[in-house]
Symmetry: D2
Subunit: 394 residues, 4 copies
Amino acid sequence: MSSLAANHFNGGCLWKYQVSKVGKFRIRATWMASSSTPAQSMEFGEGKTNKLRIGVLGASGYTGSEIIRLLRNHPHFQITLMTADRKAGQSIESVFPHLVTQDLPNLVAVKDADFSAVDAVFCCLPHGTTQEIIKSLPTNLKIVDLSADFRLQDIAEYEEWYGQPHKATALQKEAVYGLTEISRKEIQSARLVANPGCYPTSVQLPLIPLIKSNLIEVRNIIIDSKSGVSGAGRGAKEANLYTEIAEGIHSYGITRHRHVPEIEQGLSEAANSKVTVSFTPHLMPMSRGMQSTIYVEMAPGVTTQDLKDHLGNYYEHEEFVVLLKNKEVPHTRHVRGSNYCLMNVFPDRIPGRAIIISVIDNLVKGASGQALQNLNLMMGIPENLGLSCLPLFP
Amino acid sequence: MSSLAANHFNGGCLWKYQVSKVGKFRIRATWMASSSTPAQSMEFGEGKTNKLRIGVLGASGYTGSEIIRLLRNHPHFQITLMTADRKAGQSIESVFPHLVTQDLPNLVAVKDADFSAVDAVFCCLPHGTTQEIIKSLPTNLKIVDLSADFRLQDIAEYEEWYGQPHKATALQKEAVYGLTEISRKEIQSARLVANPGCYPTSVQLPLIPLIKSNLIEVRNIIIDSKSGVSGAGRGAKEANLYTEIAEGIHSYGITRHRHVPEIEQGLSEAANSKVTVSFTPHLMPMSRGMQSTIYVEMAPGVTTQDLKDHLGNYYEHEEFVVLLKNKEVPHTRHVRGSNYCLMNVFPDRIPGRAIIISVIDNLVKGASGQALQNLNLMMGIPENLGLSCLPLFP
Amino acid sequence: MSSLAANHFNGGCLWKYQVSKVGKFRIRATWMASSSTPAQSMEFGEGKTNKLRIGVLGASGYTGSEIIRLLRNHPHFQITLMTADRKAGQSIESVFPHLVTQDLPNLVAVKDADFSAVDAVFCCLPHGTTQEIIKSLPTNLKIVDLSADFRLQDIAEYEEWYGQPHKATALQKEAVYGLTEISRKEIQSARLVANPGCYPTSVQLPLIPLIKSNLIEVRNIIIDSKSGVSGAGRGAKEANLYTEIAEGIHSYGITRHRHVPEIEQGLSEAANSKVTVSFTPHLMPMSRGMQSTIYVEMAPGVTTQDLKDHLGNYYEHEEFVVLLKNKEVPHTRHVRGSNYCLMNVFPDRIPGRAIIISVIDNLVKGASGQALQNLNLMMGIPENLGLSCLPLFP
Amino acid sequence: MSSLAANHFNGGCLWKYQVSKVGKFRIRATWMASSSTPAQSMEFGEGKTNKLRIGVLGASGYTGSEIIRLLRNHPHFQITLMTADRKAGQSIESVFPHLVTQDLPNLVAVKDADFSAVDAVFCCLPHGTTQEIIKSLPTNLKIVDLSADFRLQDIAEYEEWYGQPHKATALQKEAVYGLTEISRKEIQSARLVANPGCYPTSVQLPLIPLIKSNLIEVRNIIIDSKSGVSGAGRGAKEANLYTEIAEGIHSYGITRHRHVPEIEQGLSEAANSKVTVSFTPHLMPMSRGMQSTIYVEMAPGVTTQDLKDHLGNYYEHEEFVVLLKNKEVPHTRHVRGSNYCLMNVFPDRIPGRAIIISVIDNLVKGASGQALQNLNLMMGIPENLGLSCLPLFP
């Protein structure tokens, strides 16, 4: 199955049509080298469908429904399996009425799922349970896991932050960390991708290129992040009631948020040394959106223009990561519902310091959108398929 | 130009691919009879582009930016002209930063626009000025007008409600009222379509079929409508500040809203007699969404099940108008960002009465989405092109 | 204890100071006739406190915390007992951190409460359990019950709408329905007051005077109500999460809401005949606030000005019920956090019909504020004590 | 007039009643030493009123209406003059309908105001115009100025940040900076108080005591602040429309916000050396509320517990500044509508660093509440009068 892309997507100028839809100067051409084509994939799946068959595990949560939304406009993926243990037997529209117009299979329990009838799965389950379920899946399946279970390479660190030993250590070694623009090559050949957390995505996209090039100091990186409430999931908690969230803000999990080790892992790898960050997340009265305001010390002699130039060059050919021009300030509302990450760099009043701001939609680039981008890559098709929706504003 | 569709879209099984993406039981087949094809349209436009060239007049408002958002995923329309008199010379991203990733022409003043270089226009200008601008356009252009200027067939009524005489009475006679599902046939052959108002769309879609079939009385129709704030446009008004809108609601324009004559025109035509309605709009603390809760008396002997059955049959093959099953209640959030209209019928406690609820996104089915649906029809292409985005939830 | 007011509040010019704080033309003079005075109440409570000792049963919900907020500025009431079974032993600030600055007793379980140490209680418990707890209280306590348990005079109706037989039928007979401005006299001498529901308060305040005077027909009364989310309480429910409520609206409990029999009871009593109403509540994306838009037929020959005049006269001397002037539209945000009910009457387009709009804060005039107003009355002190906070805007 | 307090408020145990309403351990006793009493003030104002006569200049903005709201419950202040140049001649309820129940004078133009008939004024005018108006006021008036015009002691700095020379430099020298808890003594004897900005209030209250005691380093202080939209005032700006603010966040005025020099002035004075801070404000989708998340380096050997202990001691007897216990996190919603500032200190992951969080209601402690607290002080009456409203939650 890891050769599925090669087998089923042989060639095609057809793709050129897709590429022409890409904006301004951002064109991803990696798939062009591929000899695969959707034309042949028509025969795939016992003739019943000409699309790849996708399973969504944990379809009753927000990242699950977001996958469904995005796949609605995907030319080659079709959802044929959806699981939700506590909602097994129900239609998706009884769980997510906004999907009432879609023709989708009913929800089933994971234990009753027929995994021989899918080609790839998005795993949107809670951490902990995820490990064992993924361990039990047929090894020919491509998997993008949206939980935290395979993000931390260091098993000991996983146990420390998640309070339980890891139960699939072999798989952990195989998993590729799926920060698409940073690890595209590894993702293309991966079978199991650990999709990054939302905060780590918003923080690492701007910082990793700067750290790799030694443009900023790795000490005293202060990250003040702000997130919409959908990041907390759909579980019924008093703290997330409308009345408890609207018209107010607060910090939470100060320095103890579970995304800390993930952020530090990425930055440490870029720095080739252990990086410890200050990370304070804040809950915002909005459903979607995430901003990280990052306060850094620049390396001696470096200017904010140097940071801008470097990020501009680094992401020049990327469709989804955009460095804003001049002093334009990224707003979360300008990426709502889309897979974009907008960022910019600003001089600080304190000499030698810079302020870096990045924004994403936590459910898209911060979860399901990046997951789809990754599966596209793993399947050898253009990574922007299904991700062409513009931000919904206002 | 009215034969453009025939000339440029000759035939094609290619469309079958599009149809297969349509949901469950909703398939629009009207275009299949057409002999037109996008294949030939490739030659259109002096070889520079293989898409139809679209102008957006008034691109700096919310309906304008919504047209741009929707066209992003349209396979055959391409925006080549955008006007905004007070923002002339600016890039669209300086006006709508969420469009920063798009490669679009700069804004120009209407007076400087080259209308020979477009095939069709969406007119998103304020009422009043619209008439004269449309009057001056080349007559080979297809036009969908989102203002109120051509909605009222009775010129006297226009003058009464809008406080000024109509200045394009001949055009008014030519204009077709674009409530798509009700007047599809007339729209297909129209050159100028008056796109319905948001409230009238939400009210007429459920009521016209019921009135036509004499299932409800046309006296004492009580309409209690609720709208998101984007309906008020992007103009800087104290009354629409965040601080003045958030966490509170109020009625406005009670019985005097300018959508009243438009609603009554549509219902009267269906009833073949003058209908006077009670209409009270309410402003909601939300950007998008509209609900009409409609209280009606049923004709003698009619039951709410009769109403449901009739609406179910009437819209059975429609993609965008959906009668919910059983007692499921339409929510505005379940259509946010999409072109859907969800509706349902409920028995009242008072014998002989029924409660009808419909919801739309005021900027999509209530404005730019229906406008695109109409232009698709006018061009002889599948009416759902560019409208495939699912609701953004949460 | 039922004679407490007479014993402990003998006279006093002291009160004149209070009255002078009342706004424009609204002065409540009923208590002036009373011979009671807070001066004597200084001796009350074994000398430990010179205030009446108040218990709040169910202090961990929103109506409970709202009572606490209001009593903060009450000159004669002091909270000495608070119960919350599931939070027993906790401080109030651990449950409601916004009360961190207050010096209040810890929460106890109802079964452990010492009711001999309080003079009156607000009962903020869920319906069903309330009956038995109130039945068990010492009979010298004054009680304002905010649940639905004692609102319906007809025990059979209670059983029908609440699905269980009433367990305190004798108490039910004693209970006085506490719509303050309508039943002030009965409330003054009551021991147990059933505090009205929020919807019934917003509906009955405008309608009862009009029905009593035969100014409107009692058939076909259409009530379209809109409520903030706090009305649903603090229970953790998926449906009330921020993500499920923000930026969208929907109807619920269409014609089947449990406030229907309460509304019909009040209107029927005013009409001296059985009234059946159409009642459709809607959930709004706001924490507080309630509007009822009421569509009525006027009696033959009656005009909307007649309705206005009558309501104006009826509430002329009321502090908390205000008929707006001219065509001014009530907004829920203009009563937020206050005990006011604003209302106005508008002519309908359909001859012979009128539109009545009333707004309240569902947690204040619709719950805890009216409860306090009632207990003030029951104690023979000015009914506006503790209720002087102006609306919080914006 | 500066001796008004002494003349008109001669002593009184009456005040003890006020004090008993103060919460837990917070009692302000400064006024007790005073021999003044409201009893004598009864004769004040030519017998017409027994209260001090207050003018509100600029009553049509949010800080103006907030002053009005707070004074509603003030026992000794009565508004007798309100100005609003562009609304001159109108009633306050036509500008702020939530004040419809209040008996207040109509708005007049500043030039028509009779300043001989007031004892003190709150000046809620825009910066720039404020200077000249205050310069023209009778010198016996007590003045609290809520604009920025008298906050900066350095006239050159004012000119640099506000782009115009200062026009009342003599008055500037007289003005006392009104951060109540820090400068109480100076405020008590001031005639003109420059009320602090909202951001500077939230930042200086926690930082000044720590800097004064050398517990934190004054280099690299990183301030990430978040504000509700009411801080932007009631002016009609596209950027502050509901549709442009709801469901999204963004930074603004990065390092260039005009509150920067005010913050640095206060911190520099505490440090006895020039302090330069990093300050980034963010706009939140909420009407009220402000949080400052402050990242600091501790002095060698200092622990976060030391910071907590010091702040706890420093504010131990303050009613309105509250250090939370343990790890409790301040939420803006827990101070909404109240004059409280909640704060707490948290250890950072990076050794030697601490995270300090403070929250206020930007319109109360950040503007009108602190202004009233100051005028109370200037008048020699208990500084908490009129400020007893608890936070409105939810």
